[in-house]
Amino acid sequence: MNPILEVKGLTRIHGTECPACLDLTGPEHDTNLCPACGSIVAAANVSFSLQPGEILGIMGESGSGKSTVVKTLYFDQAPSRGSAVFRDSDHKQELFSLNSAEQRWLRNHRFGMVYQNPNLGLNFGISAGGNIAERLLMNDLNHYGDIRRRAGELLTRTDVMVSRMDESPKQFSGGMQQRVQIAKALATRPPLLLLDEVTTGLDLSVQARILDLILEIQHELGTAMIVVTHDLGVIRLLASRTLVMKYGRVIESGLTDQILEDPQHAYTQQLVASTL
């Protein structure tokens, strides 16, 4: 089966970049910052593939570049180099060579993204239902009654009380805001869903509910997902395969149970040993 997403050599450097950047940064040098030119190597030569319906975990600590990877895939940032081939039914597209209108189309129709900070994923100036309506309207649904019904269904599915759908998400708890984000991301039934630290900072019981929800949705809809997190527990629960990143590089990748029980790289061993 062909992968739904194939990323090769994804690199993102902030700054002027010099020929020494890649050689002088990374886990062996314990830094992202190039000592020669002062550029920051946020991600370097990241490659991986994702099968339809699979959940891939990307694990790392701050500065590892894990968020950079999903941000470039969602077109929030442009990479410095690299390619990402997205396969949608029979149609193949190299994401970074599309023009901005094509990228925006994919973003609105075929990808979903849930941010750690709900301010990035939701419009707090409109109601929770309105947030979902906006995404449905982008997808050419133009029937008020249908939009309302579908928004209600999505909110119910993500355990948000439909009676609150006309309130602004400003008034919701953190966990509920994340669930509205998930509902909004799923409104278009995207084949690819990106989740960037979606439960970080939430109470444990709230985290558990949201992670369970994500698993259920994945079972129901067969959505391929990339889950970015620094939490081993989230990785263990959700991801069948995992990449471990440090200072912008992928230092290890493998089946999740293997990464957790037989970590190869020194840093991975350190991470796995660090569970409380």
């Binding site: 593939s49 099968q51 699979e54 558990a208 369970d212 698993l215 079972h219 629960l237 069948s240 395969r241 990748s253 493998g254 089946l255 149970d257 293997q258 029980e261 037989d262 190869q264 790289h265 020194a266 061993q269 350190q270 040993a273």
Partner: protein, 246 residues
């Protein structure tokens, strides 16, 4: 070139595994010089003293551990032979879903889900209809003496023995072509152990190949068609890295 005796489903040759603990600067051998074969309808027992690496062998087959050296030639349902140590992660995941089952020593499962769903899951992953999968799960749980009042509860609060029965049920329900069992009856009473023996004998008749670790020599006597006695691993003097996979 991958090669397998005509009837075997798996042949392990020269398997060795060690752990490179970077922080401690130590190399810990886990198993070495392991050779064995598994045949459909037969149970191969792994025996040997503690520390000989019996669990490691199973984990290397399942790729919870990355084998250090050796080959693990496996025959798929359509007759192709592949070295489990070298196939891609995607292929390994596929084999785990359809061909290879593993009853581990401890229950690892998704928390907060009822026992019957945990047991039904391998069937659902094989596209069995949900209602049918649940029905089979309940039948199997009953057969393993799990009281009905526990079926709709999450196993987190079960006793060790109850957890192990759920674990067994989940490992057995989908009748994989190759079944790995790591101390499957360790926490079970005699009556339930008897039921497990019956089940495994049925599996043999159904053509399932099995590799098992039993702590009880009577079980080995009752079920094993072949016994592989593992010796403690040879300490290695240099670090070897795990084989690269595709």
């Amino acid at each position: 070139m991958t090669h397998l005796p005509d009837t075997a489903i798996l042949e392990v040759n020269g398997l060795a595994k060690q752990f490179n603990l970077h922080a401690q600067g130590e190399v810990v051998p886990s198993c070495s010089g392991v050779n064995l074969a598994a045949y459909p309808g037969q149970l191969a027992a792994l025996t040997g003293p503690t520390g000989a690496g019996k669990s490691s062998v199973l984990k290397c087959i399942y790729r919870t551990y990355l084998p250090g050296s050796g080959t693990l030639n496996f025959r798929t349902a359509d007759g192709r032979v592949m070295d489990l140590a070298r196939i891609s992660e995607q292929d390994m995941l596929r084999l785990r879903r359809s061909d290879i089952g593993f009853v581990t020593q401890f229950l690892h499962c998704v928390p907060r889900r009822p026992a019957e769903e945990v047991v039904a899951e391998p069937l659902i992953l094989r596209d069995v209809e949900a209602g049918e999968a649940l029905a089979q799960a309940r039948t199997l749980l009953a057969r393993l003496n799990v009281p009905e009042r526990l079926w709709r509860l999450p196993p987190a609060t079960f006793s060790g023995g109850e957890k192990q029965r759920v674990n067994l049920a989940r490992g057995l329900i989908a009748k994989p072509r190759l079944l790995l069992l790591d101390e499957p009856t360790a926490s079970l009473d005699k009556a339930t152990t008897g039921r497990v023996i019956e089940l495994l004998q049925e599996f043999k008749r159904a053509g399932v190949a099995m590799i098992a670790i039993f702590h009880d020599p009577d079980l080995v006597a009752a079920l094993a068609d072949a016994e592989h006695r593992l010796a403690p691993p040879q300490p290695l003097t240099r670090k070897t890295s795990a084989l690269e996979t595709q």
